[in-house]
C-alpha cells in the first residue's frame, strides 16, 4: 500500500547513416547575381530541422550571413538525390554533401574575386559576406560584387555540387557477419538516468525525471539537438511504460484505433528532462557532427526498467511496463516465483518467456553450462 521510488541507468550507442552505407546524398548550390545563395537538396524535413541545419552549414562554409540562404527541397526535378531522412543521416550524410557543395561555391567565389582583385585566390578569404585579402583587410570585395562580376562580366555561373557516399559495405562472411569495409562512419553515444515512482497497488509507473547525456559530435544548432533529445525522451517514455499496438501480444485482439485507446505520451506525463551535450567530434560528419535523432528514444526504456526494479524489486522485461505487468510481477514475487532459477553458475531469468518453453519442437536457445 505504498508508492516506491527507484533509479536506473542505461548507456547506449547508435550508428549514423545507413548501416552498411551505400546511401548517397547530394546537394547543389547556385549564386544569384547579387550574391544570395540558393541551395537545392532532396532531404525531407520531417520536423527534424534539416532545412535549418543544411542552410547553417552552407552559410558557415561559404562565410555569409544565414539569411542569405534559401533552401529548396521541394521536388525531385530541381533537387539532386538524397536517399532520405532516416538512419539519423540528414545532418551527418546530407549535411556533409551541403558542406562539400558550399566549399566548391566558396572556391569559385574566390576564383572570380581573384580575377577582379588581381590577387591569387589562395591569398583571399571570406568574412561575413566579403572577400578579404589575407593580411590586407583594406583590400576587399563584397560577394554581391563578385557575383555581379561573374554574371555580367565573366559570363560565369557560380555554382557548386557536393555528393556524400560511403560505398555499400557488403557482408563478405555470412558465417561471422564480417564486412568488407567499415559500415558505420560515426557512432553516437548516450547515457540516461531515470527516476520513477511505482504504486504497488495499482501498478502505475510514473517517470519523474530523466537525466540524459548525448555525445552529439558537434551541435550545429544546440536548440534543435535539444528538441530531438526531449522529443525522443518522451517517445522513449512511451516505449517504456505506455505504448503498445498489440495490448495482448502476440494476440492481435483489442488493438487501439484512436488516441483514446493507443497511449501516446501526453503533456501531463512529461517528467523533468535534463540534457547534457558532449561534443566529441566525428571524423566524417560536417563540422564533426554525429546523428542523434533516432537514438534519442533508446536509453529510456532500459533505464526505466532498472528504476522499476530499484523501486519494487521485480524485473519486467516485456514492454511496456504496464500497471498490469507490475501487479502480475509483484504477485509472482509474493508467491516466491519471481526469482531466477540458479543451477551451477547459471542464473536463469524469464524462463516462461523463452522459446525453450513456448516452442514445441521448433527452435531452442542452448546455453553452455
Amino acid at each position: 500500500m505504498a508508492k516506491h521510488r527507484g533509479k536506473g541507468i542505461a548507456a547506449i550507442e547508435y550508428p549514423t547513416g545507413m548501416n552498411q552505407n551505400g546511401d548517397p546524398s547530394q546537394c547543389w548550390i547556385k549564386v544569384k547575381p547579387d550574391g544570395r545563395i540558393d541551395v537545392f537538396a532532396g532531404t525531407a524535413d520531417i520536423g527534424n530541422g534539416s532545412k535549418t541545419i543544411q542552410a547553417q552549414i552552407v552559410a558557415e562554409t561559404i562565410g555569409v550571413p544565414y539569411d542569405w540562404i534559401t533552401y529548396d527541397n521541394s521536388n525531385t526535378d530541381s533537387s539532386p538525390v538524397c536517399t532520405g531522412t532516416f538512419a539519423s543521416r540528414a545532418t551527418f550524410v546530407a549535411g556533409k554533401a551541403a558542406e562539400k557543395a558550399a566549399l566548391q561555391v566558396k572556391a569559385k567565389i574566390l576564383e572570380i574575386a581573384g580575377k577582379e582583385l588581381e590577387i591569387d585566390p589562395a591569398d583571399l578569404e571570406i568574412i561575413d559576406g566579403e572577400v578579404v585579402a589575407k593580411g590586407a583587410p583594406q583590400t576587399r570585395m563584397s560577394i554581391s560584387d563578385v557575383a555581379a562580376a561573374a554574371t555580367w562580366g565573366h559570363g560565369e555561373l557560380i555554382t557548386g555540387t557536393g555528393a556524400q557516399l560511403k560505398p555499400y559495405a557488403a557482408i563478405v562472411d555470412p558465417e561471422t557477419g564480417r564486412v568488407d569495409s567499415p559500415p558505420h562512419s560515426a557512432i553516437s553515444y548516450a547515457a540516461c538516468a531515470a527516476e520513477v515512482e511505482v504504486d504497488d497497488e495499482t501498478g502505475e509507473v510514473r517517470v519523474l525525471r530523466l537525466q540524459q547525456c548525448y555525445d552529439v559530435g558537434r551541435a550545429i544548432n544546440p536548440t534543435q539537438v535539444e528538441g530531438q533529445i526531449e522529443g525522443g525522451a518522451m517517445m522513449g517514455l512511451g516505449l517504456g511504460v505506455l505504448e503498445n499496438c498489440y495490448p495482448y501480444y502476440p494476440s492481435v485482439e483489442h488493438r487501439g484505433g484512436a488516441f483514446g485507446s493507443y497511449l501516446a505520451p501526453g503533456m501531463e506525463e512529461m517528467p523533468q528532462i535534463d540534457t547534457i551535450l558532449i561534443e566529441n567530434p566525428s571524423q566524417d560528419g560536417p563540422y564533426g557532427a554525429k546523428g542523434i535523432g533516432e537514438m534519442a528514444n533508446n536509453p529510456q526504456p532500459p533505464a526505466i526498467a532498472a528504476a522499476v526494479y530499484d523501486a519494487i524489486g521485480v524485473w519486467i522485461t516485456e514492454l511496456p511496463i504496464t500497471p498490469e505487468r507490475v501487479l502480475r510481477a509483484l504477485e509472482e514475487k509474493a508467491a516466491g516465483k519471481h526469482e531466477p532459477r540458479r543451477e551451477g553458475k547459471k542464473v536463469v531469468f524469464d524462463e516462461e518467456l523463452s522459446v525453450n518453453t513456448v516452442s514445441s519442437g521448433g527452435i531452442r536457445f542452448e546455453v553452455p553450462a
Partner: protein, 171 residues
C-alpha cells in the same frame, strides 16, 4: 448557415452535420486547422469558436452557425506575429508543425483566460493535444514565456532550461 472566420463572413453550403473542420478546410479552403484524427483525440484541428477553444472535427457546423471563428491564420501574420506565435518560434516549440496550429489556439485561449506561467496549469489547459515531435517541454516553456509577457528575439532561439553543453571533445 453563416460563420465569420478571422473576421470574414461566409455563407456555408455544407450540410449541417458536416464537421466545422471539413467546412473550413474543404469548403472555405482555410487549411491552417489540420485533420490529425477526425476523432477528437489529437487537437490538431482546434480553433476558437466565439473565443472558446474547440475541436473543429467534433463540431457539426450547425453548432457554429453565427459564430466567430479564429483559426491560426487569424492569430497573426508572418509580418506581424502574435506574441504566442513569437514565443513558439523563439522557444522552438514547433518541429514538424502539424500539431502547431491547434496547440497555438489552445494556448491563446489559455492566455486570454488569464493563464499564468505555471507549468501544471499549462499542461492542464493543453494536455489534450498530442505532439509527437517535441516532447512538449519547449511548448510549455513557450506558453509560460508568453504568459509572463516576455518579448521575443526572432533571430535566435532560447537556451534550453535544463541543458548543459560541454564543447571541445570528450577526452
Amino acid at each position: 448557415m453563416n460563420i465569420v472566420v478571422n473576421g470574414t463572413a461566409h455563407a456555408i453550403e455544407s450540410g449541417p452535420l458536416t464537421p466545422l473542420l471539413d467546412v473550413l478546410r474543404e469548403e472555405l479552403e482555410i487549411t491552417g486547422p489540420k485533420a490529425g484524427c477526425h476523432q477528437g483525440g489529437c487537437g490538431a484541428c482546434t480553433v476558437l469558436v466565439d473565443g472558446e477553444p474547440r475541436r473543429s472535427c467534433l463540431l457539426p457546423v450547425a453548432y457554429a452557425d453565427g459564430a466567430e471563428i479564429t483559426t491560426v491564420e487569424g492569430l497573426g501574420t508572418p509580418e506581424s506575429l502574435a506574441p504566442i506565435q513569437q514565443a513558439f518560434v523563439h522557444h522552438y516549440a514547433a518541429q514538424c508543425g502539424f500539431c502547431t496550429s491547434g496547440m497555438l489556439l489552445a494556448a491563446q485561449a489559455y492566455l486570454d483566460g488569464g493563464g499564468t506561467d505555471d507549468p501544471e496549469a499549462i499542461q492542464e489547459a493543453l494536455g489534450g493535444h498530442v505532439c509527437r515531435c517535441t516532447g512538449y517541454a519547449k511548448i510549455v516553456d513557450a506558453v509560460a514565456a508568453a504568459a509572463r509577457g516576455e518579448s521575443f528575439d526572432l533571430t535566435q532561439t532560447a537556451v534550453g532550461k535544463y541543458t548543459t553543453v560541454t564543447t571541445g571533445g570528450a577526452t
